[in-house]
Amino acid sequence: MTKFIRKQRYLIDFTLSSLLRRKTKNLGLLLVYTLIVFILASVMLFTHALRSEAGIILQESPEIILQRMVAGRHALMPAEYLEKIGRVRGVVRKEGRLWGYFYDYATKSNYTMMAAPDKGLSNSEVIIGAGIARVRWLGIGDFISFNSFDGKTYTFEVKEILDSESELVSSDLVLMSETAWRTTLGVPEGYFTDIVLSVRNPREVSKIAGKLTLKLPDTRPILRDEILRTYDSVFAWRQGITFVLLAGAVLAFVIFAWDKASGLSAEEKREIGILKAVGWETGDVLHMKFWEGGIISLSAFMLGYLAAYVHVFYGSAVLFEPVLKGWAVLYPEFHPVPFIDGMQVATLFFFTVFPYTVATIIPIWRASITDPDTVMR
């Protein structure tokens, strides 16, 4: 056993010195390989982080959102519908929400305006999301104006800026009192945007949704699970699009690896002949080449994954933010919680190391079965 280990150590020693002898070629390969792993790992880590982050935030949202439909479109919800719902078994809370959008010409961006009666805001105070604070250069105590539906301008004092923990969904949010909201957006008393219901037992959600549809046939219930599913597929779709765009780069890498491996130089072939003539077996040459491929692919994998980890979790994935987050103007500054998923690492390993190994093994095997007497001729 120790003899076997000693032999492997000698082979690794020889492999390392071989790699150093062809520094430029191998460093080039390592660089391209690392870059590919870095890009793929960044997309995977970032999309996964986005999905789980969105999931965590939405876990706290109500189980059912009830919207009124008129002519197939979302319409305002009369306040009396709260009474019409009445007492449904399993529902622990029901309330009307007021929310809408405001287009800011100055920054060419949409804000989400929401009434927040529980925040204790006066009619001249607002709480804003971190994205708005960034684009409007606002701090606590500064003032922000909104044009109301009837052309008047109302100015509000920024009382608070929402923390960055929830920035993924609160970047463009403006919270204000109910009165201020109705005055600015022009929704009369007695109407809400929608109604939210909290349900104690998650397994009863669809049953309750069915009951609501019967009681209020002009409404549609939207379940939290459906929203989660939509987020999931949106992020998966974006990941897919990114991967398709990257497919060209991956293909280029495979061609590069194939070319590198199949194009074993005359010098390398001669070396294999010498090694066989001085007493190396085909198996020894294959072992040596296995270590060479292993050292390159594992180094590239680890360096690429580490760089992607730092890029996503410490650099906020600056390279992929626009395409993966998808916010129109107010990109959230989002710091995902670092994690490593074994399955994801294994998938990435399979899709990067395996093709390289396959691309290189056959030409190497063909070279390693060279007759040892070729060096005599």
């Binding site: 000693r6 020889f14 070396e271 003539a277 190396w280 007759d371 007497d373 005599m376």
Partner: protein, 229 residues
């Protein structure tokens, strides 16, 4: 260890239009602890014969026995094992691996054996010392002169302490002074108990007093086989 060749034939591209018989029925006995020279012009078949004796290739027909063992029909793995333990090779163009140091080149044949590192280093250094190469141990081999490169090749051939040394046209790339020096080294090896088998068409080699026997070849056959006194 006695090497015995019995009606050895080697045919290249057998069955094809360019079929060529390199060795045509050679029978020989190569005695242990002697320096034997296979002499002949280029294309006479001496290198082909040498590569079969050294387990680098197999004969098309005939039998080669090494001591008691018939090696002519062995699969590659067994031939490699015999080659690495029994033979040391000194090639015409030295065949050192560029970019590696002198010491690394010398130790290469021992890597697959898994010899303990310290013992291997000690032996390699003692060989370097014996052949006057100690100061060059860390130099890359491409810095060496022809004579130095050949001495490195001899050290490499000796690293697994083989019983038989095989040298293919060893003086082809050396001037006459270095060729005579080489024959001096062959004499040392002979004195230390090694069997040496050389191919050459250089008179410095086959007329050297170090040679015990000259086998002259022509067109894949033995023309003359005579001991030297």
């Amino acid at each position: 260890m006695l090497i015995e060749l019995n009606d050895i034939r080697k045919v290249f591209n057998q069955g094809k239009h360019n079929e060529f018989s390199a060795i045509r029925g050679i029978s020989l006995q190569i005695e242990p602890n002697k320096v034997t020279c296979l002499k002949g012009a280029s294309g006479s078949g001496k290198t082909t014969l040498l590569s079969m004796i050294g387990c680098l290739s197999r004969p098309t027909s005939g039998r080669i026995t090494l001591g008691e063992q018939n090696i002519s029909g062995l699969p590659e793995r067994f031939l490699t094992d015999i080659r690495r333990h029994t033979f040391g090779f000194i090639f015409q163009k030295f065949n050192l691996i560029q970019g590696l140091s002198v010491l690394e080149n010398i130790m290469l044949p021992a890597y697959p054996l898994g010899t303990p590192h310290e013992a291997l280093m000690d032996y390699a250094h003692s060989l370097l010392g014996h052949f006057g190469l100690s100061r060059l141990s860390t130099s890359p081999v491409e810095w060496l002169s022809g004579g130095e490169a050949q001495r490195v090749a001899i050290c490499r051939a000796m690293i697994n302490d083989p019983e038989i040394l095989i040298a293919d046209e060893p003086t082809a790339n050396l001037d006459s002074k270095l060729s005579r020096e080489f024959m001096g080294l062959v004499d040392d090896l002979h004195q230390s108990g090694k069997t040496v088998l050389i191919t050459s068409h250089d008179p410095i080699v086959f007329d050297s007093p170090v040679i015990n026997r000259v086998v002259e070849m022509c067109d894949g056959q033995v023309l003359k086989d005579e001991p030297c006194y």
